[in-house]
Point group: C2
Chain length 255, copies 2
């Protein structure tokens, strides 16, 4: 008999919406959680937006969401640094989501000799930013990257993601970043703390085996793959360790 999960960690793009397009089964799924008072948290690798901005996107799709129901890889990165060193100086490459998350922890922003380099997607990337990050990492700064996504799915096609831009620094310095987002367990462990539900009673929901499902597996929690995004049935056959549950759309889920 299927377990009754008491907490849900839920991916966004490909699961709740697809770019600017709605996934129509998503609203009913979230309503199912709300009506049963089951705690849930949206967990996203997207480090460019603040949680309030992400919540607004969801509201625009008709899914009422508060900022505190959103957990981003930017927040997880800031928390990771805070756990290592509470009064750190940080050189940040990233957009509003990461900059805000770093500043909310009270870290000092530093261009030179920082304790950490925190790197997230930055569509205003330039050579000088890469120079500062390289010099800092060579100088001993701990190199942390919000996520290792090689590509971003957009209407224009697959654009460079944070994992590919971070490779400038890792190839140049020979030092690999600590990645925080899915498929790493780091973001999941943090999200579990925020959610406050036991690991054994929590499930990770997402469309992408290589990020969402692997993150759940790496953190040792049950997983639910939904075929509305990246990982099709065909692609799923290539993986040895299968998700705990697989459904075509979120409408197929029985709570």
């Amino acid at each position: 008999m299927k377990k009754e999960y008491k907490g849900y960690l839920i991916d966004l793009d490909g699961t709740i919406y697809r770019g600017t397009e709605e996934i129509k089964e998503a609203a009913g799924f979230i309503e199912g959680l709300r009506s049963r008072n089951i705690p849930y948290l949206f967990v996203t690798n997207n480090a460019s937006r603040t949680p309030a901005q992400v919540a607004q996107v969801l509201c625009d799709f008709g899914i009422e969401t508060e900022a505190d129901q959103v957990f981003t890889s930017a927040m997880a990165t800031a928390t990771f640094i805070a756990e290592r060193q509470s009064e750190a100086s940080v050189y940040v490459i990233g957009e509003e989501g990461l900059l805000n998350a770093i500043q909310e922890k009270g870290f000092t922003l530093a261009d030179e000799n920082p304790d950490f380099v925190a790197m997230g997607i930055d569509r205003k990337i330039n050579y000088e930013k890469l120079v500062k990050a390289c010099l800092a990492v060579r100088n001993g700064a701990t190199f942390v990257a919000t996520n290792s996504d090689a590509a971003l799915v957009t209407e224009r096609g697959l654009l460079p993601g944070n994992g590919s831009i971070a490779s400038v620094i890792s190839v140049s310095t020979g030092i690999q970043p600590i990645f925080i987002g899915k498929p790493e367990s780091i973001i999941v462990e943090q999200a579990l703390k925020v959610l406050g539900v036991d690991k054994k009673d929590t499930i990770m929901v997402g469309d992408n085996y290589d990020t969402d499902i692997l993150a759940g597996i790496n953190a040792g929690i049950d997983t639910l793959l939904v075929h509305t995004g990246v990982t099709t049935k065909e692609l799923l056959k290539n993986y040895q360790e299968q998700p705990t549950h697989v459904i075509d759309t979120l409408a197929d889920w029985k709570f």
Copy 2:
């Protein structure tokens, strides 16, 4: 008895000068070649400058040089593309040296659906340029990079080189570039044609084992390592295949 070489391929940075600093033994070495009428060609991975600009740098160091005595990885990249497809469209990321070399071959510059992506160091790199390169490579463009240098030696320290910036595209698309510059044999083979001297009578001179010496070895020509730059005596011990000749400074060379 030492071979009398009839042609010299000579590295620049670390061999003839060091950044903005002169290497005082270099002028006498070049004068030695001139007075003996031995043909030589400066071969550099630096794709940012035109050959005329490089020649001017050498003149400023008191080493009289014409543009046609300079062979850059930018020129080698343009020649490589021309040999593959004479009327190609090319999307270029790079500075003046590469842009000029591409335009001198009469290629069409194209932002979309190019036949080739040619990438050299570009200190005005931005996200949109990386996007265009990624989309083009995913769309089937042949990805060519002037050189794989991970870092540039500068007064500020080791800054990101073309090899590290090119990794954005290779990590994002999963497609590796064809590298043209040293240590690849491609640039050496082309330089040999320009020099017009037999392979067996030509020697590659440089300070960096991983680029200059390896390029000579890969192209099957003799090599001369000079300890005025990157590869110290200590570092040289780590390499199994030793250069044909090793000297402390260019003043020690007997023609």
